[in-house]
């Protein structure tokens, strides 16, 4: 059951979200391959997929990391460099709740990053239906 209080809070952030989150947290198409995290050698995309769901990342960013206009930016494919990704997750400066090392290990974080890297590019539909 939704509480009015919760809704009001949500309504307050409705308009602000695009400003809060700013651009998507993915690199541009022309920026080359993302840098590998230190832990990338042992990263496991399959485990990352499981953790991405278990830890609720999908709630705001979609099950494929595609993002949502009011909830959280697109994360993949082509996520931002791992250093910035990890840093933001540990100490977000905008609206994302923090995922500290106490609740998500560095290895788990690397696995989630590997999952986001493994996302496929969207199809090109031409002409656009819109």
């Amino acid at each position: 059951m939704k509480t009015l209080c919760a809704w009001c809070s949500a309504i307050v952030v409705t308009l602000a979200m695009p400003l809060i989150f700013g651009p998507t947290l993915v690199r541009g198409q022309n920026e080359g391959q993302p840098s590998k995290p230190a832990e990338a050698s042992a990263a496991n995309a399959e485990n990352g997929k499981r953790l991405y769901t278990k830890y609720g990342c999908y709630e705001c960013h979609g099950r494929e990391g595609q993002g949502g206009v009011q909830t959280g930016p697109r994360l993949g494919p082509d996520p931002i460099p791992f250093k910035g990704f990890a840093s933001y997750i540990r100490k977000p400066t905008r609206e994302m709740p923090p995922y500290t090392a106490k609740v998500m290990s560095d290895q788990e974080l690397a696995d989630i990053y590997a999952f986001l890297q493994s996302r496929t590019q969207p199809p090109v539909v031409k002409p656009s239906p819109f």
């Binding site: 059951m1 602000a16 099950r63 595609q66 993002g67 949502g68 909830t71 969207p122 819109f130």
Partner: protein
């Protein structure tokens, strides 16, 4: 007004006669041989004809009458142009109910059978946003109104005219316990909802009822619009119309909406014309198509960007000056910002930081001038605070925006010089380019997770558009849980193509409001489409039966993310904040184990339905089949299992 030729008797005397009959029944019955208990009539129903035949009461009863007060009340509803009465049947307004279906011929108004009073009011809410006028809701003054209260609150916050009539028996000596009339009666019925009701009254005579009904209608329809309530006392409904009564219905003339003071409007025009980067922020600016057209004219005159907070269909989504998809940039760049009917103007200009210590910061330039035009300031109440944070504007015009736009446009044109016009053209060209770029980005965004299962909301939005784009469509649902995809991608032009939000944030609005809007759209031959949240439908799903029973054509496409997802995100935020487990936000927020089958639910209500659809490739054919049903004049529902947002 036809006068009754039968002897008149008021309901009180009628009931006295009945009581006498009951007394005469009771005495001889005591001397009769004992009857098996099962054969005895219920205690509440002792008034059977055989006794009257064998032992008539001393006073001759009048058992029928030609016209009752409720007939006159229906005359009033007809005069007001009320097309429908949405109601769960109730004893306290049985007189009105019968007068609608028999005396009134069940036409204008037609009785719409509802299964929850919240649905009745929300149907009226949706209907009014399409039709621009209220339908009527009947409800018990106590239990019905309590069910209806959430939907009334939504209508109040959303500034929508809703006309509620509640039945009640004020005279305690006339209440019959057998019908539950004590708990169904109340001293001041409207008290419970008065905090979020624009006006209410308790008429004590039929002339009083007529005046108050016309007054209520006028008040509801005067911006800022809102819900109104009349108490129809049962005695007033059921007593015969007194012979010789000269009942009149007062003339209705809707009040012209309040317009901005000419000096203030001239100052607003001066600020806008001189601005380097003016911005227009709208929320519930347009009440009609005219309101949309006027806003287009103002924006084009100034070549000013428009950011839409989406409380109504305010501005065409594909207009080059629509900068909603890049609101952050234009708000940050503006030196004059004018809010039109924006109750939450503050949130358009500021951001809230929802961490342990909540903070906020402005998103606008220091020194930016602010103008507000809103009629909302004319109907502010203290307890339920639907006025949001205070915005310190430079020019505040307490007037209806749509009614003020003609003079503002005229004044703006008068003040524009040739130099300013050239500057405007340059500005407009840049904005058009930016609009196109933002649209391309939105198109690209919709392609991500294209083949995902659960179905992505971008894919669903695209597939739905492909099936309805050649129809005269009307999107009758809220969109904020759907990533606003349609407003970002579809070309909205007409006032009925988008209805805005529920107002008070009350869940359970969308399903009945969509049915009410579809009811209004039916006579116009429009294809009504609703993107239906699962959690919302669960509040009062029987409105699907109402749609089936009354042949209300509506395509409901479930946005079935199997959760109260917004609440899930709130719980997730708390879990992260407290650092004590981040994997249990689904507890209490999701609808899994077992999954709900909305297709079966709808089928059980007599609605054509398919699903659950989990493969996006199945969407297009399913949509085609469902639309064919809707075009035959019936509701249809597709249960699509979707991504969260």
């Amino acid at each position: 007004m036809a006068k009754s030729k039968k002897p008149t008797v008021d309901r009180r005397n009628f009931l006295k006669s009945v009581a006498a009959g009951a007394a005469t029944l009771a005495a001889p019955a005591a001397s009769l041989p004992a009857q098996p208990a099962a054969a005895r009539p219920p205690v509440a129903m002792p008034l059977m004809p055989p006794v009257i035949e064998t032992d008539p009461p001393a006073e001759t009863e009048v058992l029928t009458l030609d016209r009752s007060g409720s007939d006159f009340m229906v005359d009033i509803l007809k005069y007001l142009g009320i097309e429908y009465v949405c109601s769960v049947a109730g004893s306290s307004f049985r007189g009105l109910h019968e007068s609608v279906i028999n005396y009134g011929g069940n036409r204008n108004p037609e009785f719409i059978t509802c299964c929850h009073e919240e649905s009745s009011v929300a149907m009226g809410h949706g209907y009014a946003k399409i039709e621009g006028k209220p339908l009527c809701i009947f409800a018990h003054g106590t239990v019905g109104l309590q069910h209806a209260s959430m939907a009334i609150y939504n209508a109040y916050c959303d500034r929508v005219p809703v006309f509620v009539i509640v039945g009640n028996i004020l005279d305690a000596t006339m209440r019959d316990s057998a019908y539950g009339e004590w708990p169904h009666s109340v001293q001041d019925a409207a008290a419970m909802v008065r905090d979020y009701m624009k006006w209410d009254d308790l008429p004590v005579s039929l002339p009083h009822f007529a005046e108050s009904a016309v007054r209520a209608y006028k008040i509801a329809m005067t911006p800022p619009m809102g819900p109104v309530l009349l108490v129809a006392d049962s005695e007033l409904q059921e007593n015969p119309i007194r012979e010789g009564a000269n009942l009149q219905i007062p003339k209705l003339a809707l009040a012209s909406p309040p317009q901005g003071d000419s000096g203030a409007v001239a100052e607003a025009a001066r600020l806008l014309v001189r601005a380097e980067n003016p911005l227009i922020v709208v929320d519930r600016s347009a009440r009609t198509q005219t309101g949309i057209d006027l806003l287009v004219e103002l924006a084009e005159t100034l070549q000013a960007p428009v950011v839409d907070q989406a409380g109504r269909m305010n501005f065409p989504t594909r207009h080059p000056l629509n900068q909603t998809n890049r609101r952050g940039a234009v708000i940050a760049n503006a030196d004059v910002i004018m809010g039109l009917e924006s109750p939450d103007f503050w949130s358009a200009l500021n951001s809230v930081h929802d961490q342990v210590h909540r903070t906020s910061h402005p998103n606008i330039k220091s020194g930016a001038k602010l103008i507000s035009i809103t009629a909302g300031d004319l109907n502010i109440k203290a307890n339920y605070q639907n006025f949001f944070r205070y915005t310190g504007v430079d020019l505040d015009i307490a007037a209806d925006a749509e009614a003020t736009l003609p003079s503002l446009i005229e004044e703006t044109k008068r003040q524009i010089t040739a130099d300013r016009k050239r500057a405007f053209q340059d500005r407009g060209a840049k904005l058009a380019s930016a609009h196109q770029q933002a649209l391309e980005e939105a198109r690209a965004d919709a392609m991500y997770a294209w083949d995902a299962s659960p179905v992505s909301t971008g894919r669903l939005c695209t597939e739905l558009w492909n099936q309805i784009k050649d129809e005269d469509w009307s999107l009758v649902s809220i969109l904020r849980h759907f990533s606003w995809w349609p407003l970002r991608l579809w070309p909205f032009k007409k006032h009925y193509q988008y209805l805005g939000v529920q107002g008070g944030g009350g869940v359970g609005y969308n399903a009945p409001a969509a049915v009410g809007a579809a009811l209004a759209n039916r006579k116009h031959g429009r294809l009504s489409v609703s993107i239906q949240d699962d959690g919302d439908l669960l509040f009062a799903p029987a409105v699907l039966w109402t749609a089936a029973h009354h042949r209300i054509p509506l395509l409901s496409v479930m946005h079935n993310n199997r959760a109260y997802h917004e609440e899930m995100m709130h719980v997730q935020r708390m879990a992260n904040r407290h650092n004590r487990g981040i994997d249990r936000a689904h507890i209490g927020t999701t609808f899994e184990d077992p999954n709900m089958d909305f297709a079966k639910l709808a089928q059980g209500m007599g609605v054509y339905a398919e699903g659950p659809i989990t493969d996006p490739k199945d969407l297009a054919p399913a949509l085609r089949r469902a639309i064919a049903v809707v075009k035959r004049g019936e509701p249809a529902l597709l249960d699509v299992v979707t991504q969260a947002r």
